[in-house]
Symmetry: C2
Subunit: 262 residues, 2 copies
């Protein structure tokens, strides 16, 4: 337990040590489960969200009773519950864009054979909202709901179109600018990319998240200039110039079809 208290990495910019509101703890618990993507023991959960054990037990019990969490398998592990699934479906039902977007993404990946994704900004973070795997032998797997730094992606450049520089700086941390391969992106370059993406109406990045793929993205608009989401294709980096531009055309067409702007 000694090593537990030594939190050199403490991302707690907040008042660490002070009492926390139950609701906040719950939100952290949910977020934690979302990142772990698996059932977890309550003790570990308490450690994971850095909350007192007794509190965690109480909160988890409430959540399990409410059906937001479920005790998994052996009995002392918990994970997301049916209620959350139901609420999620409610969200989909009430959200035309998402419903149609999922459809289009599925179509697109079936037609092209490439991995296709629908991406959105989720509380200042890039989020893969839905993805449909391509038919290629090597899988490019990126879990739905995964949080990836905005500067690593083509979609990120489109999603930030129209934001003021200050807002962008808020959303992008120093770490976000360091690419997976260690290279460092200049914030000014990134902002230039954003403006270029906005002007051209699409964006292509090569070898950013990994060395073998390039990412094609097109914006889905919910109003003039307002980027609500992006559709993107993840293709092998050696995809020919012709095929790439043909895919971009298709992608832009489909994204436009989703747009409400008109």
């Amino acid at each position: 337990m000694q090593d537990g208290s030594a939190l050199a990495v403490s991302a707690d910019e907040k008042t660490s040590g002070s009492r926390e509101k139950g609701l906040n703890r719950v939100l952290e618990i949910l977020e934690f489960l979302h990142t772990t993507q698996r059932a977890i023991g309550i003790g570990d959960l308490a450690k994971g969200v850095n909350a007192p054990r007794s509190t965690t037990y109480t909160l988890v019990r409430s959540l399990v009773d409410a059906g937001l969490l479920e005790t998994a398998g052996d009995g002392n592990r918990v994970y997301f519950g049916k209620k959350l699934y139901l609420y999620g479906m409610d969200y989909v039902r009430g959200n035309d864009l998402l419903r149609r977007g999922r459809q289009e993404v599925d179509n697109l990946s079936r037609e092209t054979g490439e991995t296709s994704e629908l991406c959105m900004l989720q509380s200042g973070r890039y989020t893969i909202v839905h993805s449909s795997p391509g038919t290629r032998p090597f899988r490019i797997s990126s879990a739905t709901g995964l949080q990836i730094p905005l500067p690593w992606t083509a979609s990120g450049r489109l999603l930030l179109a129209g934001f003021e520089q200050a807002r962008i700086e808020d959303m992008v941390s120093e770490d976000d600018l360091i690419l997976p391969d260690g290279r460092r992106l200049l914030l000014s370059d990134f902002i230039a990319d954003i403006e270029k993406a906005e002007a051209t109406g699409y964006c292509v990045t090569s070898g950013l998240v990994d060395a073998y793929t390039k990412c094609l993205a097109a914006p889905v608009l919910s109003g003039p200039g307002k980027v609500e989401a992006t559709m993107c294709l993840v293709v092998p980096i050696d995809t020919s110039e012709e095929r790439t531009s043909s895919l971009i055309g298709l992608l832009r067409d489909r994204a436009a079809r989703l747009s409400i702007a008109g």
Copy 2:
């Protein structure tokens, strides 16, 4: 709507006026949005869950910040947010039964042309977890996640198999026994139905929820005798005897395929 746990300590009934825990308020808010199935103003929301306005504003703000809720359209209405969708997808991903069940239900309704559903017990209530519409002209629409009294359904009879009588009585209120057409079911009859359903391995009800349909259901087992879910078909009440029994055969087959018991 309340937790209504069986082991009520003091059970002050409504306890209107007493202070409520923030988390509980939140749970009520989510449940309320689930029943309304639409974005709602914060004032109305406060009324709906019978919470003070100021409290509701605070809680909603937290939830919106966290992404569990989103402000819809005009700006002063809220509904479920993307986060809940993502958590819901996590649930699906971690839940083989649900994932495969959705698939089977979709197949089944496509093959038969009838409305097909996957149902589960959700904190003591019957819940349609996934449904796929049939191809019939008149739509038999029952929203996913809808809460219907157990005695009104064929699935309800299967889902309660193996429960002690006392538990069943807990789960079924007096009101639940009154059918939509006003008829009143006897609890003893209902319990007899349950036992029969368990013995025969399927259940058929005619004209219970409405006068035009009958409901065929088969259990999905997660262990010997443990009913984890049901698959059901909603067909016109005048479906021929032969077709009905052929559908039941198909249904039982598919449900068995989902079962882990073996």
